[in-house]
């Protein structure tokens, strides 16, 4: 729309420029006509002050207007250049070229024409022309003067002759009339008139002169003649034909008498009168021009300046117009390029051109259309790709969440046996952090002999599909763990080596639970099977001892022997009874009764039982901040006592046992660390089994009970090496209480 209006405006501009040029041409033609016509105008009109004034001021006004327009155009151009408008330099060059091309010849012409005009005007008033006109004027004047002088002399002579006459006498007047007629004939004058000072007496006209009536000589003429003795006038006679040269003379004034005035007139014939009048008027015109010479020069100079400025204006205007016309498609292209670079691919250039620029514009528009199509295509593809990526991201997030929450450990390898992914379960199982696994080659990540065994499972020739699961037992972090490893070959992708997926199932706890269940069952059966005969055995032994004491006839050594044997039987039965009770309690152990329990206080209470329990062995508390946890306080107390008992047993003086607590998120930690002899790695996986003991005494049920309590609290227990020596048992329990295992 904007572009359309721009080109509409440009078309209007074109019409406007053509109209202005036509007007300019018309004005110049009019001025030329006026100048030409001025030659034919009457001098009085040409030299009219008002006309000169109007012409001069009109020129000045036009000069101001033209200067304003010219300066405005140049100023606009300068501003465009300063604002670095597109095409301003080109416009400037074009205008400068046009103005320069016009300025040099126009200025040269102006100077030459001005000088020529000045010279011409000066030549008008040169000596020769002036002399000719002055001579002509003098001749015309002298002609009239000569006639006037002759007539004046004749009039004076007649006045002197008439003076003695008594003009008041009628007879004398008649005689004078006759004499006047004779004198007129004698003088060959066209008019002879007689006045008694200013009073008309008689006049005689030449009937062939063409004078139709006695001309009015005027009172001033008569008074002048009467007072000064002579007077001269040039009057136009009635009928307007020719010119009457009237000369008057008065007689001497006798004392007490009025003067006689005689007027003699000679009529110049119309042709002579016209010629003399023309000569006089030509001279007068010349003098008027001379008086107004400066004004003429100024007016013509102003006219030249006007024409010069008009040409300059036209040339600069034409330059600007052509520059605009040439620049329009280029500006449109630049504007189009700018819009397209800013992303507006719907922009099209509309230029009313039929030259090479039209081809460029068409190519530009075609290119823009192609760009728009391609962009639409790319945008569609991009949208599809974004959608796919979004879906993939979702899938990946779901997969990650699944993997992260999987109890099984999953390790993905690429074709070059490099770990590309390992979920949290795998990291926990293998006791390795993500950075120790992901991105490393398998040989590097699993360099230690234990893990290398696991790595060996992943070896072998590649082949698609899943392999049979393998059970593998590894000692990791001093603890033996049993895993079920399942390796799955990934299909080859685009010539790249196939990857593998290793899925690990930690069977350690399962196996341990299975063993515990078996042992529990065994304990229950043992307790059941052994407990029953123990009482009769004991009772029988005691009855045997009682009979032996009652029987007096027995050999002397027998009672002592029986006494000792019964004592042994009763004692061992009591021991077996205790063992059976222990088994029975273990087998019948009830689930935990959860209650909010302050763990730190519980630990302090337990530790209070062990103050100075063993000389040289220090039992201290560490950590703290475990807060409350939902646990069975009595069972946890039992756990702590069993662990501390074992630690005290294993620690020789000087030694140290530290019972520390802690809390991490929703898990509380209880750790019992001693500086004792430690636990051999091969014993660690048997530690929590019933009847296992390296102490040589006891039932071997302590750690089994601990493990069961911890398991029923949904917790875990680990055994590890303490630094620098000894063992550390770490119990982790859910703080919120999750009993039930």
């Amino acid at each position: 729309m904007g572009l359309k209006s721009h080109f509409e405006r440009r078309r209007r501009d074109t019409r406007w420029v053509v109209a202005m040029l036509a007007l300019l041409l018309g004005l110049l033609t009019f001025f030329y006509y006026l100048v030409q016509r001025g030659r034919d105008l009457p001098t009085t009109l040409v030299t009219n002050q008002v006309l000169l004034f109007v012409l001069r001021n009109a020129n000045a006004l036009l000069i101001l207007v033209i200067l304003f327009v010219l300066v405005r155009n140049l100023l606009k151009l300068w501003l465009e250049r300063r604002n670095r408008a597109l095409g301003a330099r080109f416009k400037t060059k074009l205008v400068a070229t046009y103005v320069g091309l016009a300025l040099v010849p126009v200025l040269a012409l102006f100077v030459y024409a001005s000088e020529l005009l000045q010279g011409s005007i000066d030549r008008w008033f040169s000596g020769s022309l002036r002399g000719v006109l002055e001579q002509s004027f003098a001749i015309a004047q002298e002609l009239q003067q000569e006639i006037a002088e002759r007539d004046s002399r004749d009039a004076g002579r007649l006045a002197r002759q008439v003076q003695p006459q008594d003009l008041a006498d009628p007879r004398a007047r008649e005689a004078l009339a006759r004499r006047l007629a004779a004198w007129r004939q004698e003088l060959d004058a066209d008019l002879v008139a007689l006045y008694d000072e200013t009073e008309f007496v008689h006049a005689v006209l030449d009937p062939s002169s063409g004078l139709e009536d006695l001309p009015e000589v005027g009172r001033s003429f008569l008074l002048e003649a009467a007072e000064s003795g002579r007077a001269q006038r040039v009057v136009v006679p009635t009928g307007g034909r020719g010119r009457l040269i009237l000369s008057g003379a008065a007689s001497e004034r006798p004392t007490g008498q009025r003067r006689v005035v005689v007027a003699v007139g000679t009529l110049l014939d119309p042709a002579t009168a016209e010629r003399t009048a023309r000569l006089i008027e030509a001279y007068q015109g010349y003098r008027q021009l001379e008086v107004q010479k400066g004004q003429f020069k100024a007016s013509y100079l102003l006219m030249f300046v006007l024409v010069t400025l008009v040409i300059l204006l036209a040339s600069s205007w034409l330059g600007l117009f052509l520059a605009r016309r040439l620049m329009a498609p280029i500006q449109a292209l630049a504007e189009g390029t700018r819009k397209i670079s800013s992303g507006d691919l719907d922009h099209r250039i509309e230029v009313d051109a039929d030259d090479e620029m039209a081809g460029v514009v068409d190519s530009f528009n075609a290119m823009t259309e192609e760009l728009a199509r391609n962009r639409a295509l790319i945008e569609n593809k991009q949208r599809e790709l974004l959608d796919a990526n979004r879906r993939l991201d979702g899938e990946r997030a779901r997969l990650s969440a699944i993997l992260a929450n999987l109890a099984a450990g999953v390790i993905a390898l690429d074709g070059e046996a490099r770990v590309v992914a390992a979920n949290g379960a795998a990291q926990r199982m293998l006791r390795q952090r993500e950075e120790e696994l992901v991105g490393r080659r398998l040989a590097e990540a699993w360099a230690d002999p234990e893990r290398a065994r696991l790595g060996a499972l992943l070896g072998g020739a590649p082949g698609a599909g899943a392999r049979a699961p393998v059970q593998v037992s590894l000692v990791l972090g001093g603890e033996r763990r049993t895993f079920e490893a399942k390796v799955t070959e990934l299909p080859a992708d685009g010539g790249q080596p196939a990857g593998r997926i290793l899925v690990l199932e930690d069977l350690t706890e399962l196996i341990r639970a299975q063993k515990l269940a078996a042992w529990t069952e065994a304990a229950r059966r043992i307790a059941h099977e052994i407990k029953n005969p123990l009482t009769p055995i004991r009772l029988s032994a005691e009855r045997l001892r009682a009979r032996s004491r009652e029987h007096e006839g027995a050999p002397p050594a027998l009672p002592a022997l029986v006494e000792e044997a019964v004592e042994i039987i009763v004692r061992e039965v009591g021991t077996m009874q205790g063992l059976v009770d222990e088994f029975s309690r273990y087998a019948r152990m009830t689930g935990p009764q959860l209650a909010a329990t302050p763990i730190d206080r519980l630990v302090q209470e337990v530790l209070a039982l062990y103050r100075e329990v063993k000389p040289g062995v220090e039992v201290v508390a560490g950590g703290g901040g475990a807060g409350e946890a939902w646990v069975d306080a009595e069972q946890i107390r039992r756990v702590l006592i069993n662990l501390i008992d074992n630690a005290v047993e294993a620690t020789a003086a000087p030694g140290r046992i530290e019972v520390s607590t802690g809390r991490r998120a929703d898990t509380i930690t209880l750790a019992v660390a001693d500086s004792g002899r430690g636990v051999a790695p091969e014993d660690r996986d048997k530690l929590f089994l019933p009847f296992f003991s390296r102490k040589g005494r006891g039932t071997g049920m302590g750690l089994a009970i601990v493990h069961r309590i911890v398991s029923e609290h949904a917790g875990t227990i680990r055994v590890g090496d303490n630094a620098p020596r000894g063992t550390v048992f770490t119990v982790e329990l859910p703080a919120g209480g999750r009993a039930g295992a």
Binding site: F53, Q284, R287, E290, A298, L302
Partner: protein
């Protein structure tokens, strides 16, 4: 600095003295009419004579203002009038036609032959009734001031400028109706 200023003032005064000026401006009353007389001196220079002899209409315009004699008030002006005297030479008859107009109305038209007469006709005004005071105030005095406007001059050869003499004040008179 003072010397320069003094020289400047002297120069201006000398220039003013050389220029045309109205002299002997006098007024008299004839009933309720104000009769004005004055003489223009220095107006008939060579340029004017040349222009007159060339036959171009040439003349002077006299600006006249009737004032009340009020020094402390700005409304002293009562009436204003322009008298235009234009002469034109007829080289064929050797006569000058002198027309005198007041505010565009023709007052007189006469023909003179002598330059002396022409100069007198153009530069002298003798007891010319110009203003009429219908309801004169007997307590107030009246005066007239006058100046002459010459043919326009030019600056830079084409910019016309107005040329006038300085104002001249007449004597003061009382008018009784």
């Amino acid at each position: 600095m003072g010397v320069i200023r003094a020289l400047l003032l002297v120069g201006l005064a000398a220039a003013a003295a050389r220029g045309p000026a109205i002299r002997d401006l006098a007024i008299a009353r004839s009933g309720v009419q104000i009769l004005i007389s004055f003489q223009l001196v220095g107006g008939f220079d060579r340029e004017l004579s040349a222009r007159l002899d060339s036959g171009l209409p040439t003349g002077f315009v006299y600006d006249l203002e009737l004032l009340r004699d009020r020094k402390r008030w700005s409304d002293a002006l009562l009436e204003r009038s322009r008298i235009e005297v234009v002469a034109m030479y007829n080289a064929v008859t050797g006569e000058y036609l002198v027309n005198t107009k007041q505010d565009g109305r023709l007052l007189s038209s006469r023909t003179v032959r002598e330059r002396r007469e022409l100069e007198a006709a153009m530069t002298r005004l003798q007891a010319q009734p110009v203003f009429t005071v219908d309801r004169p105030s007997p307590e107030e005095r009246y005066l007239v001031r006058a100046r002459v406007e010459l043919a326009p001059g030019e600056v830079l050869g084409f910019i016309p400028v107005r040329r006038t003499s300085s104002w001249v004040e007449s004597n003061k008179v009382r008018i009784r109706g």
